[in-house]
Amino acid sequence: MTKFIDLTLNGISTGAIYAAVALALVLIWRATRIVNFAQGGMLMLTTFIASAVINSTGSYVAGFLVALASGLLLGALVEVILIRRVEQAPPLNAVIVALGLLVLLQATAGMIWGNTPRSFPAAFSIRGYRVGGTRLLFAPNDTFILLAVIAVALSLAILFRATSLGLRMRAAAFQPEVARLLGVRVGRMFTLGWALAAVVGSLAGVLVAPSVFVGPNNFDPILIFGFTAAVLGGLDSPLGAVVGGLALGLVLSYVSGYEGSSMVTLAALAVLIVVLMGRPTGLFPAARERRV
């Protein structure tokens, strides 16, 4: 029973991280109808940068902030330099460009920092809380992860629902031509969307790095879990992404605890296929039909 509780708590904190990756994917999907398979590579690169900053300055906060700032810059650059050229092309081209970027980022990180994974410090203690003599598998650092992801999700919700900038971003994504006629700088909104998504992604990278270590390929599974969580939530809905992330975190935590960690990615595949077969639009479907 303690094992079950531990796995549940662990599932919630890892699920929060998957939710953040899913949010990053959903933001971009909503803005440009592209699944950003380069997200795993982008958050890998920003986490490497954070690791370098922490090593040289000794300050976790500095590394954390630099990661978010470099995410913002990287997201904007990727949109302006690469994605803008394939937005009008068939969807397959955008997928291939994103995968090419993933490979290129992995190669670049490997060239600079080597392929051997390195450790990454946690923000707070990873010794679990003591409750009635037993130590839970939930530490102050997990509280930090949960709070950070909740804060990001809430600020995004406020941005999109309560500010004029958020309204312009939604208009640009929903009806680019009409929005442009009404004076919205559509291209700039797309760039901003990519930049924001990359910030959320780099947050997820820094949060997950203490448990997966920092290496060029270490974030591949995180990309897949984030994608699965996003699909679970309908790929169109930020709320769905958060719920999907938490649900997937729980499922994978139980699988990892009872079946072994080598089965986790295949379990995510199973969840993905079951959801897509049974409910292709996810748990929180958008009202619109697929355009053909």
Partner: protein
């Protein structure tokens, strides 16, 4: 004679297969044993790439899971030959069949998945599958994988016949079979169905085509090619190991078909050449520019990334598309001359 060849797909494909076989034979005899090994690798990569280019280029479905399907074929061969003492040809056919069965499951899901969903599901497959080797170390040999004995050249060829040449013949024969089957498929009514489904699903279904069935069928054919290629890989390298099938393998396969030109069997030849020759080139470059270990280890991957992005932005039709464009410009002049 030439008119008959031009009219009949079967004759044309036979002629091309015989010519290809003669070319492969000549190369294998002229080559050193190292080059023969490269030829064998090129042949098994061609099988996989030909299947993948049909799936992506002709049918419009993307798969990032073909590295995983190769692993299915490789482990099937390693288990059947190493543990059950099967003969080579049935084991290879079983490898194609095993991958096809997995392909049915993936393909049935695939037919309901749009581009990015399918890419994500097959990506999860490619990343997750090697985990099975860890989960069942007794069957799959864990991290070290399974080794098999090298195939023995028949005694008719003489006792000094090099093993590498024999492997090149085996893999080359597989490549020719795959080429023959896929060429006839693409130039048949079924091939036209595949293209129709790619270009417009609704129009295709209005014409009475079963869109989902066509997509699943293509995925299964493509998976069988990947399984056969993976089985050949196990025979040539005498090894099936989880480390041989990382996500990067699937992405390099995608790079190779994009570079060669999506949907073109001839493009698959260029792609296979890239996959075989690039490691040597990047090694040479690393030596001659005395690059650091970190840089040279990742140079190949960087080339894949640049090729994927560059090809999509600048040259989406690939090498074979370029050749076709040049030939298109030359042909009218030839006709005027005759």
């Amino acid at each position: 004679m030439s008119a008959a060849v031009a009219r009949s797909t079967l004759l044309r494909s036979l002629l091309l297969t015989v010519l290809g076989g003669a070319g492969l034979w000549l190369l294998s005899v002229l080559f050193s044993s190292y080059n023969d090994l490269q030829l064998a690798s090129g042949a098994f990569f061609f099988i996989v790439l030909a299947g993948l280019t049909v799936l992506i280029g002709v049918n419009g479905q993307i798969s990032l899971g073909h590295g995983g399907l190769m692993a299915v074929g490789a482990y099937t061969v390693a288990l059947l030959i190493g543990r059950q003492n099967w003969a080579l040809v049935p084991a290879l056919l079983a490898a194609a069949a095993a991958a096809a069965v997995i392909g049915i499951a993936l393909g049935a899901a695939a037919s309901r998945l749009r581009g990015p969903y399918l890419a994500g599901a097959t990506l999860a497959f490619a990343v997750g599958l090697p985990g099975l080797a860890d989960k069942f170390p007794g069957t799959f040999g864990g991290e070290n994988g399974l080794t098999i004995n090298p195939p023995t050249p028949p005694s008719v060829l003489g006792s000094s016949f090099p093993l590498e040449r024999w492997e090149a013949w085996i893999a080359g024969a597989g490549a020719l079979v795959a080429f023959f089957v896929l060429y006839n498929l693409l130039h048949s009514g079924t091939g036209r169905k595949l293209r129709a489904v790619r270009d417009d699903e609704i129009a295709a279904s209005l014409c009475g085509m079963h869109v989902a069935r066509t997509q699943t069928l293509t995925f299964v054919i493509s998976a069988a090619c990947a399984g056969l290629g993976g089985g050949m890989l196990a025979v040539v390298l005498q090894l099936a190991q989880p480390g041989a099938f990382p996500l990067q393998l699937s992405l390099s396969l995608l790079t190779a078909v994009v570079l060669g030109g999506l949907g073109s069997l001839a493009g698959a030849v260029w792609g296979a050449a890239l996959l075989v020759l690039l490691p040597g080139w990047t090694n040479d470059a690393a030596h001659s520019f005395s690059l650091s270990q970190n840089v040279s280890a990742n140079l190949q991957l960087a080339v894949y990334g640049v090729v994927l992005i560059g090809a999509m932005l600048v040259w989406p039709s690939g090498v074979q598309g370029g050749i076709r464009a040049i030939r298109g410009r030359i042909k009218p002049i030839e006709r005027r001359a005759t």
